[in-house]
């Protein structure tokens, strides 16, 4: 069964059509790669799925339900979480607190309970702390738990971004260029991490310019150009597709 379905989505910014009649599906448990040259509309697609932007036309279904017009926080509640192309963190909080904040949806957030620090709230908070520990361990960042997010090196900041999104417990995780600015080792670690996340049953939509990473990770790939889906298929098919090569022509992309 498909987990997410985009149906004839169009997004216009004033006169500019960033996404044009885009339709695709994401199946449960897969890693779907979404690639395309700069300005193709990948981030815009993310913004619409996560509710940050509303499509001009078309519908988005998650687990069969129409989520097109839902607010971002409701969509997160339904089980879709995302990371950002430009690293976005709770900068002046520690790594631990960042992830703890990420656990918001499973935390007890009632006003009076928190004010009076009832036993229910304390138990709930104990659970979120455990969950935070688990996530830190899962991503191998438990050693830097007390560092402030803003002081982290870039690579760790990217991982922390994913940690925050995972804390919200998504069924579908949208990753916007998780490998940007990473060196080879870091990229390989990230590939492993993404595999691990999928192995836990989380479906992933991956936007990434690092072709090697996308080709190795993705079960299927969709190629966007100028807001239009030009190709959809298995990594091997996409790699040799003429339209794709055309779209990327003149760009320094590594297809090997």
């Amino acid at each position: 069964m498909n987990l997410l379905e985009l149906k004839n989505i169009t997004k216009q910014f004033g006169g500019l059509t960033a996404i044009n009649n885009l339709s695709f599906e994401i199946n449960e448990g897969e890693i779907l790669g979404l690639i395309g040259p700069n300005g193709a509309g990948k981030t815009t697609a993310f913004n619409m799925i996560s509710g940050v932007l509303t499509p001009t036309k078309g519908k988005i279904y998650f687990k069969g339900e129409d989520v097109t017009k839902l607010k971002t926080n409701i969509i997160a509640q339904r089980g879709i979480c995302r990371t950002f192309q430009l690293t976005t963190l709770f900068k002046s909080y520690s790594v631990f607190d960042n992830v703890l904040i990420g656990c918001h949806l499973s935390a007890k957030t009632g006003f009076w309970g928190n004010l009076l620090n009832t036993s229910g709230v304390r138990k709930g908070e104990g659970k979120t702390q455990e969950k935070t520990e688990e996530i830190l361990k899962f991503l191998g960042i438990e050693e830097i738990r007390n560092e402030l997010a803003k002081n982290l090196p870039h690579g760790y900041q990217r991982i922390l971004g994913i940690a925050i999104a995972l804390a919200a417990g998504p069924e579908l995780l949208l990753l916007d260029e998780p490998m940007t600015g990473m060196n080879n080792t870091e990229t390989n670690d990230m590939i492993e991490t993404i595999r691990k996340i999928r192995a836990k049953g989380t479906t992933i939509l991956l936007v990434e310019h690092d072709m090697k990473a996308v080709m190795t990770l993705s079960d299927r790939i969709i190629v966007l150009n100028n807001g239009v889906k030009i190709v959809e298929g298995l990594p091997a098919e996409v790699k040799d597709n003429n339209a794709v090569i055309e779209a990327y022509l003149g760009r320094e992309q590594d297809f090997t």
């Binding site: 971002t72 926080n73 976005t88 709770f90 918001h104 949806l105 928190n114 804390a167």
Partner: protein, 328 residues
Amino acid sequence: MNRKHYTKNFIILGTIAFLLIIPLLSSDPYHLQVLMVLLLNIILAISLWVIMTVGQLSLAHAAFMAVGAYTSALLVMKLGLPFWLAMPASGIMAAILALVIGSITLRLKGAYFLLVTFAFGEIVILIFSNFWESLFGGVSGLIGVPPPDPISIPFIPQVRFVSKVPLYYLALSLTLITVLTIYRLKNSRLGLTFGALKEGDLLAECIGIDIMKYKVMAFTVGCFFAGIAGSLYAHSFVVVTPIDFSFYHSVYILIYVVVGGESSFLGPILGASVLTLFSEILRKFGHYESIGYGIALILVMLFLPSGIISLLERIIVKVQELFKRIKG
């Protein structure tokens, strides 16, 4: 780490003990009056700080205080309600108003929200000074607000609010309650969520936080205590005039927070205390008061951008190092 906490707790407990015995040290009504103003300013500063933790700047805090002051005074004077009911009612009134206004305006950020609250504050003062004069008393406001009703507790002599001393203890208790409540809130999951909104509300939304809900919550809580402060003010100082709650008063409250240091819980408390005393000392110098105050603001912002609390923290660290060196 532990030692720092130790020093901090010591300072806090010492301060509370000192505040408790002040009426024994000096019965000069002027001193108590100044301290009551100081305590009121602490309530106002720390409650504005709650609003600022979600990243919003309000210039309507004095207006919400006005709502509390008028509500409480009118409930007692016109309806004959006891102060002990009117006081919580004034907080609730301010909170309800904040809930309504906040739900509409908290979509706005930064300078926009600041200016809207400014406009709202002006409306409130305009209404109190020019409309329904038979109720609000116009520009001269409400005169002869009675002191709190006496409390009788079995086995203890009745407490009557005839002198400054019991009023001072009332102010001190309300201040402690406010500070403790807000401290609890800050250290709870809600405090964490509030701070997250300030840091990045898009990210917060993407992990499922309903940002409007928590912004409105923080705003309502902050304004509730501003309302309580208004009630305390009305019944302690007998007269309530609209000009007491002008936009400049709101600005002062904001200044307490920022000069004290908005990034820490103790900052607003420290700021309110230091600046209240500072302007009291300067008062002797007539017009030079404003100059002194103005220059102090500029200097603090230029040289201590995280507020005077950062200076205090630095001093504590220095003192501890000194102790270590003496021991070692």
